[in-house]
Symmetry: D4
Subunit: 164 residues, 8 copies
């Protein structure tokens, strides 16, 4: 299976979006990351999706901030499922990014995750879950990841008040 | 393949959520819909997901309004991908539903769609796209749906000012 | 000079966007209106802007609602100035449309007007003002429009309390 | 009487939630604190509430951030009164946490306090007030706490402008 | 035990607040409702709470809209636990009411419920849960109410698409 | 004439509220500042306003944060005009303070200024303007202040790009 | 004393702003109302304020909606105290009007009231309170108004549940 | 052609607004920048626009924060197209500035850009695009700028995970 494709609107989104890559890596899923700007390189929108379809990419993860058009525009050019990650914006803290990504009209869909790093990591996780539907090994990785985090919660330190 | 499972927090969410069912039906994907309330029937969260895993359900679509816990709680109990639909709430118009569904912490993911009917329809569409990754017939349906809506836009009536 | 081009994401935006057309007509500026959906007809984005550049269109007015990508994507494909009109959305009343249009990243600009009919009318007015910079007749029309509305304010009826 | 039970979605919520514990301690009310994640350890939701009912826990205080499902899910599993504390989230500053906790549907209730440390402290205070309805000693502690804070306000330093 | 006291800022809040009364009645808990306006009858704040303490009122439920000061001011005058219900406001739909009630400073607490009728009903429910901690009969009523609503969900009608 | 009375909900509001005092001092208007907490010292609300009426205080300036009840509650106890200053809150940046102060119901009014230091300074300025209606000397001070700030704007440094 | 001057940005604001006039009339204070549009008749801003100063107008009440510049611009041209009323806007329900009026920079102040009719009525009330500082008869009217509304609250009908 | 006129409400807005000047300089378009405060120097509004019309200024760029009245008031005094830049405010992060600038009523238009530096740079860019409609050299500069930024995106560094 081709690697999951991680696209983002700007080089500066990588510190957020790398959490998607890291999660995929941790779950044993191959990935490839590139910058495609909906506004600065609009011609890449179509060509990147055509290439992705040809390559057999199973999921596209796209992150962008502010008037975040990348995920929705990629979804307009492909039938591959697209997951969107709202990157925090400087002033409005990603509320603009979230609404720009999630409020898609009927007929073109983006599965949107939380604002910022948690959302990027969960985009990787959800991509793995999607692959896991038909790939037992990845499904197993997801279940192991879940067990591990469950155990971490259950084995955390005792909660105590600091000394006065 | 087992039908896509559409769950919602209340009977009163069906007028919104039926748009997911309709889209799936239009794309030739089987579905099954039920009411599971995270708050009123919490025991069904786990059992419904265990049943879904056993049945081989490929995607779960969950809609809820207000403090919309259903999608996130289902995601907590399964490795099947979960898509969330924020149902409009009476006072805050679904902004509460949206934030309650999309702002999941790292480690449990919900792919969130737009508030209301458009989001429900797109949840059905995205589910079909996910199935289409490995099912050529469904992939074809999605592409046909896309072509049809493209043509509808291109063959719309001429835009004219009303007579003074 | 070629007509001002008015584009919108959906036929259903015309009741709002026709106020741009009406204002242009009232100011003696030619216009042409079409539906181009960023999401349903993405290939039209580039071709419509190439055609507009070839035709010598002086301003593009674009209206869209929700995750309103149309104005920003048109701006990505042309050096013609683009004005954006946030069309009211069903649940969030156009706040999503506004943020999706106005919060463009550095390097691709959209001059954004108010949400709804007032914004559409003002997009027509601002387009006329832009044309008026080098076209004395249109500039005159704008000034007359301004005088007329000033006089309407000044000759309004006396404000009185209703009878008890 | 069994200690008040303080639960939180993550170890990282303790710096906020310890203000509930501190307030209870200051008022002479016993408490016990643990991490229970609605999403990462969903099976603990029911078991922790069954244990609490068996122990005779008089109030549950639950804090969580983002899509904060913990308080509402605990309330779904018990008839013990549940108080919710919205923990500040990184981007939306706890507005998401607040709406996710307070906007519960009819039939399952969470008494919600302010975002952050003040809310955590007040959850401890309100728990003590609830216990104080039938426990005269705790009621006295609350009244003393109130007197003390009233006197602090009344004996504060004189308010003067800084030297120019 | 004295009846639960339901106070509201205005006669016009009763259509919302009566849902608290109805819930209490359904659960077999006595109640008494009155209008006390924080702004128009401030002297009643203190006297009503002194009377309530003397009567042995176990919980106060207070609803108000807009700059909703009633719940917080009642809490300032008593050690009886106070629950607050944000009544929907005409323009801001109760977001102002919610923030005015829930964002109390450290030292005076209001347990806040959802905006509107659901919140009012849940204030009644939470009051009953609080009473149920020491009153087995009321605790039983709450559990029965919960069972009934669980069964209603589970026995709802089949979800079907309308005929085309 | 008695000094303008500046009240605030907490000692910690003084760094914001001292800008009201400073403005009054700069305009030659006497002032007095005290902490009165609506929630922690509710009995002072009435007594402070009775004293103010007796003293002939011409304006009350009140600042508070979060569920900011102080300005509205003072207004409930007096016919002296009350100006409100929303003090920035830690998480919601004063949006809660603003709505809690400004959204007063018909019948009790608070003239609300901007969030934070600018609002505090302007409360002092508006108080002086109110006094200036019948006090020519203060009116003159206000006009001088206005001239001075106008000249500062007009004599500002030239705006130049930094060296590359 | 000259009448209180009530200005508004548009004839269509009168249904809201007449509540200021009505309140002033009820309190025995003379008023005069006119339309002055900051945007459509900017030259009237200065001339109306010069006339008001010459006439001895004691307070200006200004209402506007959307990008509501009228109150702040009037305040820029006069030392007479200006009260602002945010008129509800079609889409954003007056949140835009409120922020445009209240968030004035240091140096020019507008005392802002609530969004809509309640705010307009309270602007009339606050104007009367300001006049009442030096006019015993108006002060008496305000106190009578307060007594009347207090009595209305206290003599309201009994609150009863509707028959089942 | 006369230089583009960049106006701002305060000297302190220059760190944001200089990005408009820099962009114009980079595109070979002359500019001139000055402080004009709508509130502190209202008489300059009209005189600066009369001068601009006389000079043949092709576009006015205006930036302001909070209750940002400058762009709208300049637009009220001229038929020259006005672009508005919302300068970030201290507490509300420019949401107030944005709504105050963009929500203009029908009849007076401001083309609004994004909050902050990106918006200021884009105001310069859009001004150049407007000039470029009739000035081939500036149009060429814009196209070169676009090519350069496209190439920067396409030649960015490879995206790699940091070493563990």
């Amino acid at each position: 299976m081709a690697p999951v494709l991680i696209l983002m609107g700007s080089q500066s989104d990588w510190p957020v979006m790398q959490h998607a890559a890291q999660m995929l890596k941790d779950l044993g899923v191959a990935w490839r990351a590139e910058v495609v700007s909906a506004h600065r390189t609009p011609d890449l929108l179509k060509s990147s999706m055509e290439q992705a379809e040809q390559d057999g990419v199973p999921v596209v993860i796209a992150g962008a901030g502010g008037a975040a058009h990348l995920p929705g525009m990629l979804a307009a050019y492909t039938a591959i499922p697209v997951l969107g990650v709202p990157v925090p914006s400087k002033q409005l803290k990603g509320l603009d990014s979230l609404l720009s990504i999630v409020q898609m009209p009927k007929g073109v869909a983006v599965g949107t995750l939380a604002i910022g790093q948690a959302g990027a990591a969960n985009a990787g996780l959800l991509a793995a879950q999607m692959i896991g539907v038909t790939d037992a090994k990845v499904r197993e990785s997801v279940k192991n990841f879940r067990s591990t985090q469950r155990e971490k919660v259950m084995n955390g330190p005792k909660l105590e008040l600091p000394d006065a």
